[in-house]
Symmetry: C2
Subunit: 347 residues, 2 copies
DNA sequence: CTGAAAGCGCTTACAG
DNA sequence: CTGAAAGCGCTTACAG
């Protein structure tokens, strides 16, 4: 059933060496021979085994991808970008879902990634421990990170801190003063992880706007239900609730929006909401956000990796990816009504 | 850097053959020798190359997965289930995202899947054409489908038609008569694809309830925005709108719920909504639904595949997976108010 | 219980 | 331009 290159060679009346050269396009082969070999290959449906070839070439035509979640929008988008870029170049993608805090995680680093299957590895939203980073480097293949910074490994990321600053400034410019931040888990470690960077940007903008005293943060899971719960908590006290929320990501922002509506608050009339990410639902919810393009990031990570596999020098340690403010209807200038419970005066 | 079994053998003072036996646990090795070899392997951080081993054993320790979307809840869940089950068994997962209607699709079937990399293949929500099915079978490895039925290939699926019937019956039992269906794309081909099966179940239940004349369907993308748009359309005409909607999936149901609220309709006061799937957001939206467990399905598909790889006979052509009705607050008995615009009388 | 040899499917110097 | 030979890293009969 499944044919080997010897079958092709036999059928074309050449040696395996010649068949290999004809099929790979490397090395001299007479044009007529080349055509004959290719035809023979097609007739018997021959496709070379990259596993066998890798033994001698070292090229496995396979990239490893490691991420903590598959089923979250950002990660799914990145994954689609990676997959499609790899497909174009004839590469396979092997996916590992790191379940945080389990023995599986250790096994991925110690066993799966060490099986010499990959020409390169992409890490998405993964913070390797020191020993894990060690294991990665010892693999001797190019590495690239996305999103979460990884010491010693080049990574692509938006300027999370800058984006958070910009989002917060946008609310301040609209006249809001009681602006709360709903942050992602781990934000307490300021400026370290993605949530921490976004929290830091918020604090920075608030301080710069002379609103340092009004800062308040609520930490929650970076998901719709996470945002919903946090917002339900924050907004339930009618005497203290903010007039605007800067959410660490669009999922939290959307959860916040839904909670606000359930509580009878109008968005943006009673509450302005801004997020970060450019989630696929942002438009449907008329959400103002700082949009990034995770799919493009996946694509770019692959390009960078394959370039390095091809021998190019490593890229800079941090590759900044674009992000832009998209203003929709979830944010508006502060009205007297919105701030009334806080005694807010507007122009 | 990266070590081979010869290095382990040398260090342990045995032959490669003995080292191989000791490490794999196959064949006789003196206990003392075994320990010595394992220690040597650990010392130099040796992990066997499955690519090399596969050349002689035929076991690639790799499963191929083919799906049309990565970033949709159902598919993401299935994927997580597959990945985690494979990890447990020491297998890798190679993922192909079929972009419908592109040349990529052909390339996946003709080239990528034919590279002799996989011991088995999982197809999720994929309907192979006749020639594609041919190519798959010719691969000579076990295959299994999930969700979408595949002729000639065993597949796991919930009883989509039965679930749709049950969901519709639930609304009928609550006194609703004007029950519309918001279907997924392709539903017109009754009883073929998942949307078609769910549409068929709806028609069946309506007919059985003597409501055949009141059937109405709106087809849309199976996503939140898809449901939102369809519902906005259906519900905008206050004189004809239904008192209940059966949505083909939870994403559509949630989109419908959001649209309804925007239009000032209360759920379930003015409109009852039921979905299918058990989406992660269903609880947050208090959505009544028929819940299935896609993650478990991914897990079970892997078990079935690996069993067959191990030589067990193929499973039945259709493997029914469990689903159960979960009643939440998005459905309620028809009230006079809800049906007033239709002249509906209630008990 | 262990080792030498053959071989899995491929590619790559090396002769010719 | 082409083929014979060696070898990538592994495993598996086969002797001993």
């Amino acid at each position: 059933m499944s044919s080997a290159i010897a079958d092709v060679a036999l059928r074309a009346g050449v040696s395996k060496a010649t068949a290999s050269r004809a099929l790979s396009g490397k090395g001299y082969v007479a044009e007529a021979t080349r055509l004959r070999v290719i035809e023979a290959a097609q007739e018997i449906g021959y496709v070379a085994s990259p596993n066998a070839a890798s033994l001698v070439t070292g090229q496995t035509k396979n990239i490893g991808v490691v991420m903590p979640f598959i089923n979250r929008w950002f990660f799914g988008e990145v994954l689609e970008g990676i997959e499609s870029a790899l497909l174009d170049r004839g590469y396979d993608m092997t996916l590992y879902n790191l379940h945080p805090g389990t023995a599986d995680r250790q096994r991925v680093f110690e066993f799966f990634l060490a099986r010499k299957r990959f020409e390169g590895i992409v890490l998405i939203g993964v913070e390797p421990s020191e020993s894990e980073a060690d294991q990665l480097v010892r693999l001797g293949v190019p590495l690239v990170g996305i999103g979460e910074p990884v010491t010693g490994i080049p990574f692509l990321s938006m300027d999370d801190r800058g984006a958070a600053r910009r989002a917060t400034e946008q609310l301040i410019a609209l006249g809001h003063r009681h602006i709360w931040h709903i942050a992602g888990e781990g934000a307490e470690a300021l400026d370290v992880s993605v949530p921490g960077k976004r929290y830091a940007g918020y604090l920075e903008a608030m301080a710069a706007g002379g609103l340092g005293d009004l800062c308040r943060v609520e930490v929650t899971e970076m998901s719709l239900p996470g945002g919903y719960d946090a917002a339900a908590h924050i907004l339930s006290d009618a005497t203290s609730r903010p007039t605007a929320v800067f959410a660490a990501c669009d999922e939290i922002a959307i959860g916040t929006m839904i909670a606000a509506r359930r509580l009878g608050l109008r968005v943006p009339g009673d509450l302005s909401i801004i997020g970060i990410d450019g989630h696929e639902y942002a438009e449907m919810f008329s959400l103002t956000t700082i949009e990034q393009r995770p799919r493009q990031q996946g694509h770019d990570a692959v390009t960078s990796l394959l370039d390095r596999i091809a021998g190019e020098p490593p890229p800079p340690a941090v590759i900044d990816v674009p992000a832009r403010l998209v203003v929709r209807a979830s944010t508006a200038a502060l009205t007297t009504a919105a701030g009334a419970h806080l005694g807010v005066a507007t122009a």
